[in-house]
Symmetry: C2
Subunit: 348 residues, 2 copies
């Protein structure tokens, strides 16, 4: 964490921009003192807020632009018309080497379209994916794709596996991560042709991960594998189902505690432990979806997140840059595409 | 609930058969005093257990067979070799009019294959689906398909919507249910071609339900719609993700209560309320997946369920038979296939 690092931020993206973004930097500053920030957006709106945080003056630089991408703008419109938008200029900064990564809490589709257009995919990756990580009984797992590709080929799924494993190694710090393919059952005969074919290829790949075969929706909680691979349709629905179920459970729990005087008293006594639990499961701690497979670190923060959530997204960008996620991925893909460099038979 | 009803039970299916099945009948008997049961299976194993429940003698009849379908048997093998199995004979009883419905806690694939072969699909339904219902903030919702069809066409999804709505009306008692198509976002442009085309057709259908457009994984908790329609791949993963997330939440909650002396005391005080919550969310209360679209009521009980769970599955079969689910579905499909009978323009 000692090396200097610069991140490009879309200071105008998200429901609470630019306030939550600047406050988020102030939270992240304590954890990552050597990171610098390029803030793309309207100087007249960013400047006055920035002045309130005396310690940010030395690490933040405003790059003024009045244009921005709206949350309802179509990706195609953003691509054609958004060349001077805060989001686009922040992405350009990564392409130009001015920043190691970009973070935006704005329009997801526009961010993906522009990042793909400007940064291009890493050789060996056909389509970038959106990845996210979440808590489990065993620690943390990563899942991809979360919605970038609603239709996926066998090759897409295989590439998602390789990218997810590289993320687990470089960011989650798992030396030899377990990779599983999400399916409707764990038997080899289950599922549609695309997952069956992807499983066959993943089983043969020689990279520093272990392919655990098929996993199910019930494996998220126990964290059976470190990397859950699936298409963007299923992944998006699984993610939102998990978030929704957690909210439903919490809603029921609150109702249960309100049920009687005794249960209210019980809540008061257990409150510190319950707050610690809420803290552990706080979705803001897991904010920051990663666009993987692009030449550069691109992080999508939840649009509705607050300063604390944005600070988590900064943390993910820092971890990916410092952990050399992209460099590792490129090496892995090189070994995978040119397998003669690492003879297959050796470890089979 | 006054009319007589006979159900055919595969007394040998499931991890705890036949014990849990017979105990399950004893629980269900109190709620449905006029239901009779045909128990298909090994008389030597069923008989002694049945004798222990004095009130079951008058409502149960054993139909002896020594053959059974194993939990690992492939559906094709079950179809060819299982003609005298307890599962098959129980299905045959529905075809022959001896029973209004069949319940099995055995091999899901074999049950679907044999039920399809013996009972055939209702005219207008290409492929039967597996449906299940679950609690939400608004009450109960039904979802289908839960795994019978991993690849679905637009027509399949539309038919699932019609079947789900018929179930919500006849069993959940919702006069004009809301039907939603599971997707990665609620905007019309989102998702793959199959869901987009299905939405267009569902929007035009004139049957006693309201098509609410696209819904997301986050809509399960709030119960935004009464019927969640999706393909069997996504539905299976969403269901298991929800179940797994609930377990993960409960696991964390237990750990939180064990955290300190105060939190343990808090748990003791809140215990009655927490037990009531557990009761409300008990998966056994929602046991019984419905195979819809077949000529007859077919219920798949969870293989690992206990007597209470099996009693819930009996309850679902009784509700579907008494609620005239199949009759309603056939009427609906008739109106849908022959729309000239009910002029479309009228309510558009």
């Amino acid at each position: 964490m000692d090396s200097n690092l610069t991140l490009a931020l879309d200071a105008m993206g998200g429901d609470k921009a630019p306030g939550a973004i600047i406050k988020g930097i102030d939270i992240a500053r304590k954890r990552y003192p050597n990171v610098h920030y390029l803030l793309f957006g309207d100087e007249r709106r960013i400047g006055p807020i920035l002045k309130r945080f005396s310690k940010l003056g030395g690490i933040c630089e405003i790059r003024h632009t009045e244009e921005l991408i709206g949350s309802e703008d179509k990706p195609s419109h953003a691509l054609r018309r958004g060349k001077n938008s805060s989001m686009r200029l922040a992405i350009d900064a990564v392409r130009d080497g001015d920043a190691a990564g970009v973070i935006s809490a704005g329009n997801t589709g526009a961010l993906m379209a522009m990042a793909k257009f400007v940064l291009k995919t890493v050789p060996g990756i056909d389509r970038p994916a959106i990845a996210g990580f979440f808590p489990s009984m065993r620690g943390e797992s990563v899942m991809l794709d979360l919605g970038a590709n609603v239709d996926c080929t066998t090759e897409n799924l295989v590439q998602f596996g390789v990218m997810g494993a590289a993320f687990a190694r470089t960011v989650l710090g798992i030396q030899r991560p377990k990779v599983g393919l999400l399916n409707v059952g764990t038997e080899e005969l289950k599922g549609h042709e695309t997952v069956k074919a992807a499983a066959e290829i993943l089983r043969e790949i020689e990279l520093p991960f272990e392919f655990s075969g098929f996993v199910e929706g019930s494996d998220f909680g126990p964290g059976t594998v470190d990397v859950f691979v699936t298409d963007g349709f299923t992944g998006n629905i699984a993610l939102k189902t998990a978030e929704g179920t957690a909210k439903f459970y919490a809603w029921n729990l609150r109702a249960a505690f309100r049920r009687s005087l005794m249960s209210r008293l019980g809540y008061l006594l257990a409150r510190p432990a319950l707050l610690a639990l809420r803290e552990r499961l706080d979705p803001r701690s897991y904010n920051g979806a990663l666009f993987v497979g692009l030449n550069g670190v691109v992080i999508k923060s939840h649009g509705g997140t607050d300063a604390r959530g944005f600070a988590s997204a900064i943390g993910v960008a820092v971890d990916m840059a410092h952990g050399k996620f992209n460099e590792t991925l490129i090496e892995d893909l090189h070994a995978f595409i040119a397998p003669e460099a690492a003879p297959r038979a050796a470890s089979l």
